[in-house]
Symmetry: C2
Subunit: 325 residues, 2 copies
């Protein structure tokens, strides 16, 4: 298995990627790692390094991105293509990564639109897979049906769960609820035989763990992802504030600490590693921009599990068999 | 000022509405209250009662709703129309209330689409007004511009804030981000002179307090509302679980309690009272279905503030003057 890694992208650059990659190399000796970054700064490492010292500028416009062939992100994606890598990973700009990966690695045959996919932690300690979270703005019913298939295969490959429970995001659970594209997708999914489709789900149930996969158009999925993350962050701030109120509450924290550490673990977005662009000819993992070593390591783990689970092959097969696709 | 109240709607019916109304009557002697409900059960009260003993059935189909002229909700809305009430309020089914209010009270002249509006508590203890949260599924750019005007006038009338800061929900802060309808609305709002428009806002900033008003199409606004509420609820569950972990954490709660009580107050959705349908010829307030007396009282308070602030007149005026409307 071959994984190409952009070492320079993300807020922390090498400070995050290098320790993560070293640790990953130790724990996964079966993987051929190709690190793309500043060779001089990376120094002696027990895996291949391709020299590309400059990260993509965060303020690069879309035309700059398309012309760029020297940034560590561009070189990573080009290397992934030339070397037939199973996965490529970067913590750089999401928009640039989506554009470059789609441009250079190309859509899989039969795929209408690639989708950006991410896992949410659930209250029960499991994961819910959501797609699309922003590769598109608007989607057709046919695209939503493909997202359901891809999401289901992803969840199966990465989380090892047979027959994942797939839901469609809507503003009501009844099948006639939602905008037209959602109502049409609902009808098509009900007929579909490859997906274990269980109906509509409302945005308030995202964290309940009832769904393994939630399908949404890219714009709504993005709103869902960001409002969930934003609210969780806001609540965490309020918890800190509550414990800091006065001396008594500070003492309370000392007693209650262990419970809240467990809570942080349950709600740990970093452990989900980042997002994957599915539907192109490689597993393209976008790690969180502010990833620290642990988060970047989790993203590498996601790429690894996807490749190990034969995700791309499964999607190719799923699309061929799939009458709904 | 005249307010008509559906006494029988909502999960708790008279148990919630009657104590709330009695208290409201005491604190607002200037308001003429018309209670619509089961006269025998309501008994002796110091305000007018219109007899309509039956609540609308929760499983009523849309055609039942349109034909219905005897349920407490239908009678409330008809009474509001006949008596020229300033506001009408119900805790019954949202879909039925929206349909009936629009059908019987009619859209205001010049309004393209009514919008359902709600307040979110912010981290700083303020309120952010969000619309549309579900009266429509999809909206045109022109409708979004009207929502911005209505939301701004609502915030000014109810929260007494001059020149409310208005943002447009999108999946990025740059003005070229979002689906087409959002990009077009952005351009129109930038030109608008009646609205203090400050640009796009992402769903993760909803609770930050940066925005006084957030404008969204009904489908996305509904996703935003429900995922924020759902995540806040999920986090509250986790906090309880954290404190209940073991004896030590339980002791911790005793010390930290005062901080967390303050937090509950900050995040108290019930204090926002419910949602208002704006753009029809009355202030139609939909109280939360599970409102208890305190929540229903808050909803009455919202209706009162809107009427007192001359909200309907302001909207009529705003639409007439508004080049953007």
């Amino acid at each position: 298995m071959k994984i190409v890694v952009d070492m320079m992208g993300g807020d922390h650059g090498l400070e995050a990627t290098l320790p993560a990659l070293k640790k990953f190399h130790e724990s996964h000796p079966d993987v051929e790692l190709i690190a793309v970054g500043d060779k001089a700064k990376i120094g002696e490492v027990p895996f291949e390094v391709v020299d590309a010292p400059e990260a993509l500028r965060m303020d690069a416009g879309i035309m700059d991105v398309f012309r760029d062939k020297t940034s560590s992100m561009a070189v990573s994606i080009i290397t992934a293509k030339d070397r037939g890598a199973d996965a490529v990973i970067s913590a750089g700009s999401t928009a640039a990564f989506l554009s470059l990966a789609t441009l250079r690695l190309k859509k899989m045959e039969g795929i209408l639109r690639p989708a950006l996919i991410s896992d949410f932690p659930t209250l029960e300690g499991g994961k819910t897979t959501i797609l699309d979270i922003g590769a598109s703005n608007e989607n057709t019913p046919e695209e939503l049906v493909q997202f359901a298939i891809m999401g289901s295969l992803y969840h199966k490959a990465v989380h090892k769960k047979e027959s994942p429970r797939v839901y469609l995001l809507s503003n009501g659970t009844e099948e006639d609820k939602g905008k037209d594209v959602v109502k049409q997708a609902h009808k098509m999914l009900k007929e579909s035989k490859e997906v274990n489709f269980l109906g509509n789900i409302e945005a308030r149930e995202t964290l309940s763990g009832d769904a393994d996969v939630i399908v949404a158009d890219g714009y709504s999925g993005n709103v869902l992802l960001k409002s969930t993350e934003g609210t969780a962050k806001a609540m965490s701030k309020l918890i800190k504030k509550a414990f800091k109120k006065n001396l008594l509450t500070k003492i309370g924290y000392l007693f209650a600490r262990s419970g809240f550490k467990q809570m942080s673990k349950t709600m740990d977005y970093k452990s989900t590693g980042g997002a994957i662009l599915l539907g192109i000819n490689s597993i393209a993992v976008k790690a969180h921009g502010n990833s620290e070593p642990y988060g970047f390591y989790s993203a590498l783990e996601v790429a690894y599990k996807g490749a190990k689970g034969g995700l791309l092959g499964e999607i190719r097969k799923g699309l061929k068999d799939g009458s709904a696709a």
